[in-house]
């Protein structure tokens, strides 16, 4: 319970403050675009290669197992694609983004905190939440579902290519969307949006709290990435369980 509070408490408070900052000061379009480009350009290589590697690993394992028990690897293809789209890709993309986005956001904001720049902004009549948190929050909320789509495609295509070229079987089943329905897609996007909202808030909360020089920055980054990854694991589990409970 206390662990839950530790991970979600500060981000929840920051969420409320960010919403009220958005209501009062709106969203700075240009700053948000800058953050979008930042997240997109810095995370997409990591996420595409990570998920492509993961797709290859999964079919390698599936190949070894199906040869032992059922025989034909292509039967698991459509199920693999659904599982990838609904469960694996959202989870892994969220975890990778938690590392990439969480680490850089917290490092940047924590360095500003210990250099008194956040307080300087306040005395310049600027709202630090509106200046720093809002653009990152909105950008990550938009970017994460998009990165999830890219990641799913990377994993599926790499699985198909590996099956076709390395195992000499027909790989087209691994990009077969026969089992995919609207709820699968919905489940994936709910996970993406929630993690996308959570990651920058968790990171910014740790960054804003940093006090007292360079050691505080290191601690803030460590804590932020841990919070962000554990939070994403939790969000993922809760959403998956909720979709299972309502029976879709």
């Amino acid at each position: 319970m206390s662990a839950l509070l530790r991970i979600f408490g500060a981000p929840a408070i920051l969420f409320a403050r960010t919403l009220s900052a958005i209501r009062q000061r709106g969203v700075d379009r240009r700053a948000t675009m800058v953050q979008l480009v930042e997240i997109g350009s810095k995370s997409s290589l990591l996420i595409v290669s990570g998920l492509a590697f993961f797709g290859a690993v999964m079919v390698t394992i599936a190949w070894a197992q199906t040869r032992k028990y059922t025989g034909n690897i292509t039967v698991v293809g459509p199920a693999y694609f659904e599982l990838m789209l609904r469960e694996f890709a959202p989870l892994l993309v969220a975890l990778l983004a938690a590392s990439r986005v969480g680490a850089s956001t917290s490092a940047e904001i924590a360095a500003m905190s210990v250099n008194e720049q956040i307080e300087a902004l306040e005395l310049c009549a600027a709202d630090p939440i509106a200046e720093l948190v809002t653009p990152r929050f909105v950008a990550s909320l938009i970017a994460l579902p998009a990165l999830m789509v890219i990641g799913t495609i990377a994993a599926a295509v790499s699985a198909r290519v590996v099956v076709t070229t390395a195992f000499g079987a027909d790989g087209s089943a691994f990009t077969d969307a026969r089992f995919v329905d609207a709820t699968d897609v919905l489940c994936a996007f709910v996970k993406g949006a929630l993690c996308g909202a959570f990651i920058p808030l968790a990171a910014a909360a740790r960054g804003l709290k940093a006090k007292g020089g360079a050691p505080a920055v290191g601690e803030a980054v460590t804590a932020a990435v841990v919070d962000a990854s554990m939070g994403c694991l939790l969000i993922d589990f809760v959403v998956a369980a909720a979709f299972l409970l309502i029976g879709v």
Binding site: F54, L95, S99, A103
Partner: protein, 255 residues
């Protein structure tokens, strides 16, 4: 474009060089590791991360059952849930997800600490009084965090499997005995060894990458933050790459 590629290639080459250097100097220092520092890093990285690893284990276990279980039911293979979940956990998800969480916890912390020593000039200072910083600071950390992550991995597997059993009991109504029977029948020692090999590899990668990131840090608070951040990201990249390289090899070896 070409220039960007060139810079990327140069960066990769530099990183590989630095990794090789740290690995080589750690290996050379293995026989005369500073015992106290080794013990300290095992406690710091291993014992202190235990609550986090346990929490991750429960989550990973329950999530894998949810994912595997639904499909086992769909394809009428409910009885195999134990095997499927156990196999997926030990061979792929356990090491991978634990690796990603530990990249955050241990990688970032190790990099931040070394970066701090570096930025404050303390590493240079050790050289100044003709002590080898590698023997005293770096090698024990590399060995310590690799040991810590492997131990955490074994504990995590155990806890996660128990949670899988419990959560498949609740979510799929699968009796615990059936779960463990199918687990026992079809899962072999090789699977466990395969999983632990991956965990060890990931642990070593996190230790090396974060050490290099920490030692390269420059310039105050900003530098420390960047070192920690790049340690996490590079560790994740290393984990996914190693997973790809090791899996075909391990599947051939252990089936």
């Amino acid at each position: 474009m070409i220039r960007a590629l060139g810079a990327f290639g140069l960066g990769v080459a530099r990183l590989t060089g630095a990794l090789a250097l740290v690995l080589a100097r750690t290996t050379l220092n293995l026989p005369r590791l500073d015992r106290r520092e080794l013990f300290r890093s095992i406690v710091l990285f291993g014992y202190r991360s235990l609550p986090l690893a346990l929490m991750a284990a429960t989550l990973i276990g329950s999530t894998v059952v949810l994912q595997a279980g639904v499909y086992a039911v769909k394809f009428g293979a409910r009885l195999y849930t134990g095997w499927a979940a156990g196999y997926a956990l030990t061979r792929e998800f356990g090491p991978l997800l634990l690796g990603l969480v530990m990249a955050a916890r241990i990688g970032a912390r190790n990099a931040a600490e070394l970066a701090l020593l570096n930025v404050n000039g303390q590493i240079e200072g050790l050289r100044g009084i003709s002590l080898d910083p590698f023997r005293i600071l770096v090698a024990p950390r590399v060995v310590g965090s690799a040991i810590a992550i492997t131990c955490l991995g074994s504990v995590t597997f155990l806890v996660a499997v128990c949670f899988e059993a419990v959560s498949s009991y609740f979510s799929l109504g699968l009796p615990l005995r059936v779960f463990f029977d199918s687990y026992q029948d079809m899962l072999r020692v090789g699977d466990l060894v395969g999983g632990l090999t991956k965990t060890l590899a990931f642990g070593l990668a996190i230790a090396l990458v974060s050490t290099v990131a920490g030692l390269r840090a420059k310039g105050g608070a900003v530098g420390v933050g960047q070192a920690a951040a790049s340690a996490v990201v590079l560790s994740c990249a290393a984990i996914f790459s190693l997973d790809l390289l090791l899996t075909p090899f391990l599947t051939r070896l252990f089936g």
